[in-house]
């Protein structure tokens, strides 16, 4: 049976990892902090996928790429990386630095031809489309540029547009719920879930293991993501995974006995 995934999304800006709340960023710590508080190589064994997003102000793609390559050593899970990708060279650099997929946001609207070109070179399965949404007057508005610029698409229309572009997955993020720890935006998820045939990753709002469990229970949702650096500190993620497996959630259960040389 195809398993659902738990994704940890790290937000990176100018050498630091950030906690985001409603897309306002707060500095948490650098790579050293992350290693110390998350013991990354261990934590990774509790995750299905790791996502790294360079955010606001991070213009230095080389430095971001070098952080990725440091972070992914001895991490044997897929890595998705994004933020500020504008050219094929940006995409090439991230793939070379250890990214298995890239996450696109602004480029989807600003340069669809480039998106098609990336898909042609790396395949649909290597491109994740990130949709940042905000509810206003019973209507979901879509934003690009780290939530700073609203675009004119209707949500349904936009999803159809992305499917036509040929992206491989949708990362659906709620700006309203982002970093709140109040749980996922169920109605946003339902809206997109009804209309897309692409694998759907939900993000924004997960603050504890029961939120992850609620997300995993939604039919047709492929993956649940959290970017909450504060709430899962230490062994938060391994503990959450153990509990979710004990509760029979449909997530992969790697047999640690299959490989004992660690």
């Amino acid at each position: 049976m195809l398993r659902k995934r738990i994704i940890f999304a790290l937000i990176y800006s100018d050498g630091n990892f950030m906690q985001s709340r409603n897309f306002r960023l707060q500095k948490v710590g650098n790579l050293h902090w992350l290693e110390k508080n998350y013991k990354f190589q261990n934590i990774a064994f509790a995750l299905d996928e790791l996502m790294l997003n360079a955010s606001k102000g991070e213009k230095n793609m080389l430095e971001f790429a070098s952080t990725i390559s440091k972070l992914v050593n001895d991490v044997f899970i897929p890595i998705a990386a994004g933020g500020g990708i504008r050219t094929m060279e940006d995409a090439d650099l991230l793939f070379k630095s250890g990214a298995d997929k890239i996450v696109l946001n602004s480029l989807l609207v600003e340069n669809p031809d480039m998106v098609k070109e990336i898909i042609k070179n790396y395949g649909s399965q290597s491109v994740v489309a990130c949709i940042d949404c905000k509810l206003r007057d019973d209507n979901y508005e879509i934003f690009i540029k780290d939530g700073s610029l609203k675009i004119d698409y209707e949500l349904k229309e936009y999803v159809a547009y992305l499917e036509l572009l040929g992206v491989g997955e949708i990362y659906l993020n709620s700006i309203d719920k982002d970093g709140t720890g109040f749980g996922y935006d169920q109605s946003l998820i339902d809206t997109v879930n009804r209309i897309t045939s692409l694998p759907l990753i939900i993000a924004g709002g997960a603050g504890n293991e029961s939120h992850l469990a609620q997300g995993l229970k939604i039919e047709n949702v492929s993956a649940v993501a959290t970017a909450n650096l504060f709430n899962f500190i230490g062994n938060g993620l391994p503990n959450a995974r153990r509990q979710l497996i004990a509760d029979n959630e449909n997530i992969a259960n790697w047999n640690f006995n299959n490989y004992s040389n660690t």
Partner: protein, 203 residues
């Protein structure tokens, strides 16, 4: 132990290299030269991207001839990963019809979008073939990471392990010194480490 990863300009090979290093295999070379292939103890054919593009790259660099020499004639162990596995089959329907290297009986077609979500992405369980050296010690229903829109079926017994998504397709096969896996062992946690270790130790 020297592992050579076939370079045809496609695929994220960084994680394969770092996984091999983790398994204490440090002599890992990415190459497109016959001479280097002939010095290898193990050969890996990686692959991300589309089948037609990949096979035309392989043929234009004469890698099909080189592989014929070292894999078919000299019987060096070969592991195809993801698209690299598909390339070992007879044909694929990805962006038109293309023939593969035809080392095994396997035909590659697309998942049907109205039946399942495409691409097939995430960890999925394998019906493990216990006759396979590649899967030694890996428990039945073990989880491996997949990410693909096309999959292989075989009409012959190619000693396959199967995965179910829409229907049963070839998740892995092993015929003599030639094997392939549709999933990414380098992205499959302990299960993948064990599988790659088997490829190093058992062939």
């Amino acid at each position: 132990m020297k592992v050579v990863i076939v370079d045809y300009g496609m695929g994220n090979i960084r994680s394969i290299v770092s996984t091999l290093n983790y398994l204490n295999v440090h002599d890992v070379t990415v190459s497109d030269s016959l001479q280097t292939f002939e010095s290898a103890d193990r050969i890996i054919l990686p692959g991300v991207g589309n089948f037609g593009e990949a096979i035309s790259q392989i043929r234009s660099k004469k890698l099909d001839d080189y592989l014929q020499t070292v894999v078919i004639d000299q019987k060096k162990p070969l592991l195809g990963i993801c698209l690299g596995m598909q390339l070992l089959g007879l044909s694929s329907s990805e962006h038109g019809y293309n023939t593969g290297l035809a080392y095994v009986n396997g035909v590659v077609t697309k998942f049907e979008n109205n039946a399942v979500k495409v691409p097939h992405v995430g960890f999925n369980q394998i019906k493990v073939n216990t006759n396979s050296k590649l899967f030694e010690g890996i428990s039945d229903r073990a989880d491996f990471y997949f990410t693909h829109s096309y999959r292989m079926h075989s009409e012959e017994d190619i000693n396959q392990s199967l995965c179910n998504y829409q229907d049963d397709f070839v998740a892995g096969f092993e015929v003599g010194n030639i094997c392939g896996v549709q999933f990414h062992p380098e992205l499959s946690q302990f299960n993948g480490l064990r599988l790659l270790k088997n490829f190093i130790d058992n062939f």
